[in-house]
């Protein structure tokens, strides 16, 4: 079982590596990605330092370019991706089928991890992405372990990754949610999806899965054969820290119980 952690700056990266993260990922502010700009690296020199940090620790580093881009952005993205891999980066986290095709067609040799935003909910979607050249699939947050068998135990040899979600869970299907954009009129910055809202005939709140169920899902995904567990980037680093510590504990318990050993 490998722990993948998203980082927003060098301090976070150092902390996660110290605590046993097996792999890190980050985003560059100059390329749109699915999290707010403040969670991305704005300075190239910091990104270079992150690459050196991971290389020194012997841990792979991935760059998230997980949006759909206009065709004119493919060439600069491809050039940056090529430089990143040449400098030691492991590959990209990606969702745009056109960009995947463009990169593989252009001889991009790095790994391509399908973002959870690729909505790979079934084996047919997995087959499609495998043909395009994806090397690892990140499962959608709203896919249950019992529904993921066909994807995880695929014959293509694709690796799979699941969000650990114990540091945060999207109540709506990530990538198809315009709810965040419906800004609140009070307390700007407060996430809409955590609010209890007045509704006709009562109050409305989006469903958050209980923490115990999220932990059970990690064990079930692990038993199914999922090898990578991801902690997403969040604005609240203290929450991320707690997520990492809990996930490390879950990993220890699973290994002690005779689960799949981390290679």
């Amino acid at each position: 079982m490998k722990i993948v952690a998203g980082v927003s700056n060098l301090d976070e990266a150092r902390w996660f590596l110290r605590k046993g993260a097996d792999e890190l990922y980050f985003a560059l502010a100059r390329f749109r990605n699915h999290r707010r700009a403040s969670l991305s690296f704005s300075l190239e020199k910091d990104a270079d330092a992150l690459l050196r940090l991971c290389a020194g620790a012997g841990r792979p580093l991935y760059l998230a370019v997980n949006e759909i881009y206009p065709r004119e952005e493919y060439a600069p993205l491809s050039a940056a991706a090529g430089r990143f891999v040449k400098a030691g980066g492991a590959g990209l986290i990606i969702r745009d089928p056109g960009l995947i095709k463009f990169l593989r067609g252009g001889g991009f040799s790095g790994n391509l991890v399908l973002s959870t935003l690729g909505h790979c909910f079934n084996s047919a979607a997995m087959e499609f992405y495998a043909r395009l050249g994806i090397s690892r699939i990140t499962l959608p947050q709203h896919l249950l372990p019992s529904e993921a068998r066909g994807i995880v135990q695929n014959r293509r040899g694709l690796e799979t990754e699941a969000f650990a979600m114990i540091n945060g869970y999207c109540a709506n299907v990530d990538g198809s949610c315009r709810y965040h954009d419906i800004e609140s009129t009070e307390e700007p910055g407060y996430l809409n999806c955590q609010r209890s809202l007045p509704a006709r005939g009562g109050r409305f709140r989006l469903t958050q899965l209980p923490a115990a169920e999220l932990v059970r899902n990690i064990a079930a995904f692990h038993a199914l054969g999922v090898r990578y567990f991801k902690l997403g980037r969040f604005h609240d680093f203290e929450r991320n820290k707690r997520g990492m510590l809990r996930l490390s504990t879950v990993r220890k318990k699973l290994l002690a119980a005779g689960g799949r050993k981390a290679p």
Partner: protein, 256 residues
Amino acid sequence: MRTPGTEYAVVLSASELENPDFGLLSRFQAVYAGDEFCQVKLPSAGRLRALRAGFRGRIVLASSLMTDKWLEKFMALVPLVRSWGARGELVVNDLGVLDRLCRRGERPPRISLGRVLAGDLSFFAASPGFKQLFGRGVRAVEIDDLEGFRLFSKVPGAALNLHYPYKFSAFSRICYLTRKFNDACRMPCRGAAAAEIPAGVLKERLFVSGNALFSDNSALYRGICGLKKPAGGAVPARLVLNSGLSRAAGCLNSGL
């Protein structure tokens, strides 16, 4: 009030599909069965046949993102829709489904990209590269906002089906009503009125229906029709009324 050149369609709820009012349905040229956001609302072959028997227009089978189990159920319905020729159509929101349909030996029925998939692919769906991968069968795009209208009206040969008067804001696989994953349920949402969250805390009024959130887009249609040269002269090929059958029929009489 009808706009020349625009086809009028209505979205049937699960309960309306169980007991279709064919008198009201006859006022529409197309009817949507199924759901773009919930796989559990996929109708049975029996329900579709009953609808076919009483409705002469186009039947559009709408589908959502799908797990393996539901994908197979959906694919089993495709031959039935194909047998209706030009009177059958699919709305597809799952890339795996789209890939399966476009790679099969037989010509797929007419396909429209659903709002989730069109949003997922956005620039790519509007690019020539998309045609190379999925060219066969994809003839239309479902839209419900101005951004979608502007993006896809530039795509040659793509008909635009505009949903009115609600646009989707978000959906979850954990149903807002049952608080459970939508793998199996008896659809307690069918026939239930959408709960309303008034504007106030949020800037927009929202409607909660089953596992999806919607907001009002009624100004959009008037806005599009009011454009002097709307994005290259395109007008919606189809107006998809999603306010329930009786209200939709009323809209046709009284104007939008």
